[in-house]
Amino acid sequence: MSFLDIENATKSYGAARVLNETNISVEEGEFLVLVGPSGCGKSTLLNMIAGLETVTSGEIRIRGKRMNEVKPAERNIAMVFQSYALYPNMTVRGNISFGMEMQGVPKPEREKKIAEVADLLQIKPFLDRKPGQLSGGQRQRVAMGRALTRDPDLFLFDEPLSNLDAKLRVDMRTEIKKLHQKLGTTIVYVTHDQIEALTLSTRIAVMFGGDVQQLGTPDEIYNNPVNMFVAGFMGSPSMNLLAATLRQGADGMEVELARPDASKVRLPFSAATTQADLSDMDGREVVFGIRPEALTDSEGATPASQAIHYADILVDVVEPAGSDTFVTVTLGGKDAIGRLRANAKAVAGKTFTFAFDMEKAMLFDPETQQRIA
C-alpha cells in the first residue's frame, strides 16, 4: 500500500474509452508528473483523483482508503487549475478563505491561516483586491495560496503554468519546486511541457493514447525510454530517430545509416554500448535513436564515454543559439539534429566530423516501436 494508489483505473464516456487500465503508486512526499500530448488522458486521470470525474472501473485509494465514491471536498485534496479558477466576485482574501469557510473553520483561525499563506507566497499587498486586478503571476500565487490553506494530503496541479508567459513560467516553476521542498506534500502535476516534467518531478508518468507509456524517475525516462514515443516526446530538441540496418561487423554488431549520397555510415554497437544480445540480428531493419547532445563535435563529446565513434557527414543547416550551435544533417533519409559547442567549425554545405556517443544511443523496433537495445 502506498500513499496514493491508482489500481486498474479506467475511464469511458459511453463507448469511447479515454483511459485504459492504469496502475500508479505514489509514495508520500513524491512529486509525480503526468505528461503527454493533449488528449492522452492525463487531465482525466487527475480529475478522477480529484473526484471531479467518476472512475469507470478500478480503484483509487488515498492512504489506503477507497476514494471512488468519496466527494471531492472530503478527499482532503487541493487543486490548482489551469485558469486559476479564482472566484471573480470575491477578494483575494475571500478566495483563500472560502474553502476554510466551507469546512467550518472558525474565523480567527482562518485569519491566521490567511496571514501565514500570504507571507509564504508574498501576496499580502493585494489581499483586498479582486482577481481581475491581478497579473497572471499574482493570480497563480493566489490559486496556490487557496490550495495551501487546506493542509491537504495531496496537491493536484492541472497545467498551472501554461497561461503564463515564458519568463514567468520559469520563475513559477522554481517556486513550485521550492514549495514542494519546503512543505514536502505529495503532488500530482499534469503538464504537456516535458521540460516542466523533467525539472519538477521525482517521478514521471508519460502518457499517450490513454495509456501510461512509461513510469519512472526523470533520469530513467530521459536516458532509458522504453519506446519510441517516450524517446521522441521527452527532450528538446527531441531525440533523432533514424532508419538504420544492423550489420555484423568485425568486432560485433554495427549500425548502418545511409548518407544522402547513398554511401553508408557504420557505427559499432557492441558490448560497451548495450547488454542486449544482438548477435542474430544481422540485416535487421531498426530505428536508431540518438539525442542531439550525443551527436556532437569531437571536443564536445563527453570524455567519460567508452564508445565515441566518428563519422564525416555533410552539414545542411547551421543554427547558432548562443550557448550551443545546432546542426542539421540528413541521415537515414531524415533530418538529424546535432548539438555542437558554440564555437564548433561546422559550415553549411561542407562535411564535418561528428562524434557519436554510442553509450547514449538506442535501437527501436520499427514495427512495435519498442526498445530493442
Binding site: 473526484g51 471531479l52 485534496i77 474553502g99
Partner: protein, 288 residues
C-alpha cells in the same frame, strides 16, 4: 488612411438639425401628454392641445391618482398601481431566480437529455398568449388562484421562465466550469455554489432579465384583463377602465395624467438600470 479630418462645419450643422428634428418628432407625444395633464379640462376642450397651460393645475394628477371613478368606487388608480407592484415584484424575482437556477443546472450540471429539455423550455418563448388563456383559466381555477394577485404572479412566472432560462443558460455557457469545480473541491454544495459563486457573477444578465420581465409584466394587459377580479386588477386594466368609462364627460387631462403614472415605473427601471442593459446584451461578445 487619412488621419482625423476636420469635418465641414455646415455638414455638422445639418446633422444636428436633422437629429434635433427627430428628437422633437419623438418627444411631441410625451410633451402633449405632460402639458395637458397640467391643464384644466376647459382649456383642452376649447382646442388648445399643443399650447402650454394658461392655468397650471395638479388637480388632474390628484384625480387620476386617488379620486377618479375606475371601478365601482371612486378610488383613482392608486389601488391598482399597488396591485401591479404586488404582482410584478414577486413575479420578476421568482422568474429571475428560477431562470438562473435552470441556466446553472443546464450548463454546469448537465445530464443526459438536458439539451432536449432546454429545447422544450425554449419552446415556451414562442407560444402566443392567446393560446393559453382558456387552459390557464382552468388551471388557475383548480389551483384556487383565479382572480387573485398570486394567480397573476403564477401566470407571469410560467410565461417568463422560458426567457429567463434562455438568458441565463447562454450567459452561464461562457462561465468557466473550472470555477464550479474549484468550489466543489473547496467543499461547496449545489446551492452554495449557486448563491455564492454563480449569482454574484451574474449582474449584467440579471439586469437584462429584470428589465425585460419588469417591462413585459408591468405592461401586460391580456392576462391582467383575463385573470383578475375587481380587487386584483393591475394598472393597465385600470387605466383602460378609466379611459373607457362612459359616464359623464371624458376628462382628457385625467387620462393623460393616469397614462403617465402607468408608464413611470418602467421608465424609472430603464433609467436606473438601462446602462447595464446594453452591457449585459453585449457581454460575451467581446473579451474582457
Amino acid at each position: 488612411m487619412s488621419t482625423a479630418t476636420r469635418s465641414n462645419p455646415w455638414g455638422r450643422l445639418a446633422l444636428y438639425l436633422v437629429l434635433g428634428l427627430f428628437c422633437i418628432y419623438y418627444l411631441t407625444p410625451l410633451y402633449v401628454m405632460l402639458i395637458n395633464s397640467f391643464k384644466p379640462l376647459g382649456e383642452i376642450t376649447s382646442g388648445g392641445m399643443v399650447a402650454l397651460p394658461q392655468d397650471w393645475t395638479s388637480e388632474p394628477w390628484q384625480k387620476a391618482w386617488s379620486e377618479a371613478q375606475v371601478g365601482v368606487e371612486a378610488t383613482g388608480l392608486r389601488p391598482y398601481f399597488i396591485n401591479s407592484f404586488l404582482m410584478v415584484i414577486p413575479a420578476v424575482a421568482i422568474t429571475t431566480i428560477l431562470g438562473a437556477l435552470n441556466g446553472y443546472v443546464l450548463t454546469k450540471w448537465s445530464f443526459r437529455g438536458s439539451t432536449l429539455i432546454f429545447g422544450f423550455i425554449l419552446f415556451g418563448c414562442f407560444i402566443p398568449f392567446q393560446v393559453v388563456l382558456i387552459p390557464m383559466a382552468r388551471t388557475l381555477g383548480l389551483l384556487g388562484l383565479a382572480g387573485s394577485v398570486p394567480g397573476l404572479v403564477f401566470v407571469h412566472v410560467v410565461y417568463g421562465i422560458s426567457f429567463s432560462t434562455l438568458y441565463f443558460r447562454n450567459y452561464y455557457t461562457s462561465f468557466p466550469t473550472e470555477l464550479v469545480r474549484a468550489a466543489q473541491i473547496d467543499g461547496a454544495g449545489f446551492f452554495t455554489i449557486f448563491w455564492r459563486i454563480m449569482l454574484p457573477s451574474s449582474g449584467p444578465i440579471a439586469v437584462v432579465c429584470v428589465i425585460w420581465l419588469f417591462t413585459n409584466i408591468w405592461n401586460d394587459f391580456l392576462f391582467g384583463a383575463s385573470f383578475s377580479d375587481f380587487d386584483s386588477q393591475p394598472m393597465t386594466v385600470a387605466l383602460n377602465n378609466l379611459v373607457q368609462s362612459s359616464t359623464g364627460v371624458k376628462e382628457y387631462n385625467v387620462h393623460f395624467a393616469g397614462a403617465i403614472i402607468a408608464a413611470l415605473p418602467t421608465l424609472l427601471v430603464y433609467v436606473v438600470a438601462g446602462r447595464f442593459f446594453v452591457r449585459g446584451l453585449m457581454s460575451g461578445s467581446v473579451k474582457g
